[in-house]
Symmetry: C2
Subunit: 234 residues, 2 copies
DNA sequence: CGTTTCCTTGACATAGTTCAAGTATCGTGG
DNA sequence: CCACGATACTTGAACTATGTCAAGGAAACG
């Protein structure tokens, strides 16, 4: 009974050895021989926007590496409002808490169509005990998640709405070849920035008017990085 | 050339084996024999409020476990405003990034007089390779920091000023025998909550008037947990 | 083509910021 | 031990950014 709500999304068993992302992914440090030690299949899933990879409190028996797409990690407040605490994108790993036997700490929901590999905890544990590189890679992922969390506090939850939106936009195109990006639903952007849907909408509308955002295709925008940076730091 | 700005705070070499906190601290899982493998001294420091344990960008060659006291981890925005992203308290570990060879990611500044043990990276690395319990403990610490970071986003950077202050106060007495606690400077509380010093002051003043906070000793307050919880969730 | 969902915009209310001044607190040195 | 200066806290008044509520329009979907 997997938690892939919308469709049966199973694509088959992943072939890690010939994975096109192998150099950037969690398993970067593995040797040919290591792959023989994988005794449980690593499944590959394709997930449509809106589907849920896992939920808060679920027993966590797998980690996931993201091949493509974007997920949001959501946490809920007692009153039901939700806050998005992180985005998970290509080459990221999520569900690390599984390694500690803890239940998942977030809802992981797909924002943009996603390909994800599902790694059984036992496999990762076994490999990381014999392979120091993988082990080191895991620590690095943990630290990366932590840096990301800190950055969301300082960059995305501090300052005026304009600053926050600008910083979020800049973040979306960082480490990207082009300054073009697809925007998320306003409600989600609001939940990332700690502002309302309306304020988000107004801010983005204003950015469009000022040509800081130029629509190239439906819902795809080219960013005026220079001027957005000016707003972000101001 | 250590970074302990205010005074020479060195207290001597820690005696881990007879440490009164040994069961709750990072080294909980170590066996007697393991301690023989520690070939560099573990120093014990006593730090007055206001002193700095380490700074952003410093070469990170030690982790620290906190025996008593409170530190703040600070991050700066481009415009110079600072945001406190976490508090470090008794039995917490900070500076984990040292294990990855990264420079420290924050300024760690003492809020309340602190006793800290300084663990050389090489010692922790050596021990964690041979001792799976310590290794597991490290992962748990990383995860704990991450959970803390997420909680700060959802609890302390979301909702009205009143809610945030109430949630911070409740957090300060959680896992404490009494509901009594010492408050931080208003400016710091503001930097934790993403609000101004004035708003913080006003909110706390109001809480006092409503007897949600009752001063027992100078700057020590007893909390009306029940009613603060009501405000926090509302 | 109709229905739903999402986005935008307006008008208004308000919580929070800003600036400024006054008061209390704390540590220091005379 | 008191007086002083520095620092932190409190409070007021005016301003403003953002939230709220409501409605209309656009886009997406079956």
């Amino acid at each position: 009974m997997k938690n892939l709500s919308d469709k049966e999304a199973w694509e088959g068993v992943a072939d890690c050895i010939s994975c096109t992302l192998r150099n950037s992914v969690l398993f970067a440090g593995l040797e040919e021989g290591d792959f023989d030690k994988i005794h449980q299949p690593i499944d590959l899933y394709t997930l449509p926007a809106g589907s849920t990879l896992y939920r808060t409190g679920d027993k966590a028996d797998r980690l996931y590496t993201i091949r493509s797409g974007v997920l949001k990690l959501i946490q809920y407040l007692p009153d039901g409002t939700q806050r998005i605490v992180r985005l998970i994108r290509s080459t990221d790993v999520t569900g690390l808490e599984a390694l500690l036997g803890q239940p998942y700490q977030h809802d992981a929901v797909v924002l943009q169509p996603t390909q994800a590999c599902s790694l059984p905890v036992s496999v990762v544990q076994a490999l990381s005990q014999t392979n120091p590189k993988l082990h080191h890679e895991l620590l690095k992922r943990w630290q990366r998640a932590l840096e990301e969390a800190d950055a969301w506090l300082t960059e995305l939850s501090t300052g005026s709405a304009k600053q926050r939106v600008a910083r979020l936009l800049l973040r979306l195109v960082r480490d990207q070849a082009t300054s073009e990006c697809e925007l998320f639903p306003r409600e989600d952007m609001g939940a990332m920035l700690g502002i309302t849907t309306e304020t988000t909408s107004r801010t983005i509308a204003e950015f469009k008017r000022q040509s800081l955002l130029v629509e190239t295709e439906p819902n795809k925008y080219l960013l005026d990085i220079r001027n957005l940076e000016f707003i972000a730091d101001n």
